[in-house]
């Protein structure tokens, strides 16, 4: 649940999603759900020469199960807050 909430705080920020087929897509995060499915707007592909497959695409829905990495700007993450929340959740889970 924590990671889901974390991704929700990234809404409307530009992120890069790397898929498990090596395709990297950059776009504005529009929404995320409990499966960590991601909806991106105004997308661009990292290497359009190699991957012209997305030329006519404006926005896309990425299934959470195919996401390898999500890259975001360091300033969009409050690491201390996230650490605290992670510890708190781990503690709750132990109870």
């Amino acid at each position: 649940m924590l990671i889901f909430s974390f991704f929700k705080t990234l809404t409307d920020q530009v992120i890069t999603v790397e898929l498990k087929n090596d395709l990297s897509i950059t776009g504005t995060l529009k929404s995320v759900d409990q499966f960590l499915n991601i909806r991106l707007d105004g997308i661009s592909v990292e290497d359009p020469e190699r991957h012209p497959h997305m030329l006519a695409v404006k926005n896309c829905f990425i299934r959470g199960s195919v996401v390898r990495y999500v890259r975001m700007a360091a300033r969009s993450v409050d690491t201390t807050l996230l650490e605290d929340a992670t510890r708190r959740e781990a503690k709750e889970a132990k109870k």
Partner: protein
């Protein structure tokens, strides 16, 4: 669900786990990303010839196979000469 509600009745490009690309009109979906696509065409990319368009008809795609659903900009799509595009086919999803 990071919704694809707005894609219904629009032309979408679906990327499958095995790297195949299917373009069709989205007629329905559910929370497991099971999809119903009308008038599907498979777009087969290859390095030695342009994109091959293979008509498939009506397809129901099980969500387990879906990696990505993208909305196609129909106007932009119609300006692209796919017979001239040569590219490596997308790889399959490997975990």
């Amino acid at each position: 669900m990071a919704s694809i509600e707005s894609y219904v009745d629009h032309l979408v490009q679906v990327i499958l786990y095995d790297g195949r690309i299917i373009v069709g009109k989205l007629k329905g979906y559910d929370p497991r990303t099971n999809l119903i696509l009308a008038d599907c065409v498979e777009r087969e990319y290859s390095l030695d010839q342009g994109v091959e368009m293979i008509p498939l008809g009506l397809y129901m795609i099980k969500g387990d196979n879906v990696a990505l659903v993208a909305e196609l900009d129909e106007e932009k799509d119609s300006t692209i000469d796919y017979t001239e595009i040569k590219a490596e086919p997308l790889g399959e999803i490997h975990h």
